[in-house]
Amino acid sequence: MAREQFQTLSEPMYYILLSLVEECCGVDIMKRVAEISNKRITVGPGTLYTLLSKFQEAGIILEVAVIGRKRVYVISEYGKELLKDEFNRLKVMSDDGKCIMEGL
């Protein structure tokens, strides 16, 4: 079921998973997403919180440490698989468009 729900990742999902390739504290993910995407993508704190819970439930990310009230997460193997699939999908999309778009 999780597979289906996360078959294609939305933009915020994609960037959140990208930022969790390295261990990262939940609250710092917002900054990292902004960094990675050159401030193109912003994730609201409420949206982030809900997404992290969903990811964790689906086993896409793992909680590695709790410091006070801060939780540190990292992407799981399963999550990496999903992320790679999405990356490849985007790459194929980009490649497919390449020849046509370059001719314009």
């Binding site: 915020p12 994730v43 609201g44 704190p45 409420g46 809900t50 009230r69």
Partner: protein
């Protein structure tokens, strides 16, 4: 209130009701209040504002589904949630149930929810949970009303108490139904908006003010109705109805007071559930006890027993329009005569009986009849 004088009002309480679907409307309203110099301090039964310099503030009103309906303080998950928001430039102000209010510390703060579809899901889920009780309670009550009140129409229409409670429950039911239907319509529209990638409508302050008035008016009417009912009942010397109204009023005051108290004390979630539960049980026991005592004290005086020749008569009421003698029924050894009168603003029914038997506990022969009067034709038809 003296403006600029020594006596400045420091806090302001507003009775305000709102649904989770009206979060944007509440935000707009809070921003308007801030411009008038009132900053939200807390939400209990009221919205409580404190006096500030009038200024433009940016609020965000969010529904956090992991919070319980019984939360008056932040539980762990909510603390974590507010930490995330603080990091993004939203300072937590206060919470009530699943509603969390924030103020932007940074003008350009990213909105707390950036995913419309997800926000819609959260709010729908929360609304459903909040109204779950109503979804169950509504059909049961409608069924109950029908069985208890409408089926025995004669009994119903001749009792002021029954008519009054019926009206009360009917008004509450209508309000609840309208709310539920309104919510379902909102869901349908929201889904359409999501499909077309449009922003969802969480209402605006004008519509919230109107809806708020519409929600409060029926309860005011009920309250005034209850007071009037108590006064009228005592005036007509219908003490049991009067006591019923008084006890109901007392209960409302107690419930009101307790909810304010619970909000003030900021107990943990489990205590917030436990206190009303225990109190509910205690109140049910006490009212059952009072009701029982009432029946004992005010039940009809024990009928008088006469011995007349060979006949032992139990007479609750001696004067009844039609007696055994009138219809030439032979009076046996035992005779039982009584009447009971029920009268409401719509109708009056008088029930008489005059029966007799030769042995105690034997089948009684005699008369049972009811005289039903009403000034209203439609009642007579029914």
């Amino acid at each position: 209130m003296y403006y600029g004088g020594v006596m400045m009002r420091k806090t302001l309480k507003k009775l305000f009701t709102f649904n989770y679907t009206e979060c944007d409307a509440l935000k707009e309203y809070l921003e308007e209040m801030a411009l008038e110099g009132w900053n939200l301090k807390e939400i209990n039964v009221f919205l409580v504002f404190e006096k500030i310099e009038p200024k433009k503030l940016i609020y965000s009103v969010e529904v956090f589904d992991k919070a319980s309906l019984f939360d008056t303080q932040l539980e762990n998950s909510a603390k974590e949630y507010t930490d995330y928001c603080a990091e993004a430039g939203w300072q937590f102000v206060c919470n009530s149930e699943k509603i969390h209010v924030f103020i932007a510390t940074d003008e350009n703060a990213v909105p707390i929810e950036t995913d419309e579809a997800q926000k819609y899901k959260t709010i729908k889920k929360s609304m459903f949970k909040k109204n779950l009780f109503n979804f169950i309670w509504l059909p049961i009550t409608v069924f109950n009303l029908f069985i208890q009140y409408i089926r025995d129409f004669d009994y119903f229409i001749t009792s002021n108490l029954r008519i009054f409670t019926f009206l009360t429950i009917a008004i509450v039911l209508i309000i609840l139904s309208i709310q539920i239907i309104g919510f379902l319509i909102w869901c349908k529209r929201a889904k359409q908006n999501l499909k077309m990638d449009q922003k969802l409508n969480y209402y605006n302050k004008q519509s919230l003010k109107k809806r708020n008035t519409l929600r409060i008016i029926p309860f005011c009417i009920l309250l005034v109705g209850l007071v009037c009912f108590a006064i009228v009942s005592f005036f007509r010397q219908d003490f049991s109805s009067g006591m019923f109204a008084l006890i109901s009023l007392g209960l409302l005051v107690v419930i009101w007071g307790v909810s304010i108290w619970i909000n003030k004390m900021k107990f943990s979630r489990s205590l917030n559930i436990l206190i009303p539960l225990l109190l509910g049980i205690a109140i049910s026991y006490v009212s059952a006890f009072i009701g029982y005592m009432w029946v004992i004290v005010f039940s009809h005086e024990s009928p008088k027993v006469y011995v007349d020749g060979n006949t032992i008569s139990i007479v609750g009421e001696s004067e009844i329009p039609l007696t055994l003698e009138d219809v030439s029924i032979q009076v046996g050894k035992y005779r039982d005569t009584d009447k009971s009168i029920r009268e409401s603003i719509f109708a009056k029914s008088r029930y008489y009986y005059d029966t007799t038997s030769t042995k105690l506990d034997d089948v009684q022969k005699g008369l049972h009849y009811t005289i039903f009067e009403s000034n209203y034709d439609f009642i007579m038809v029914m």
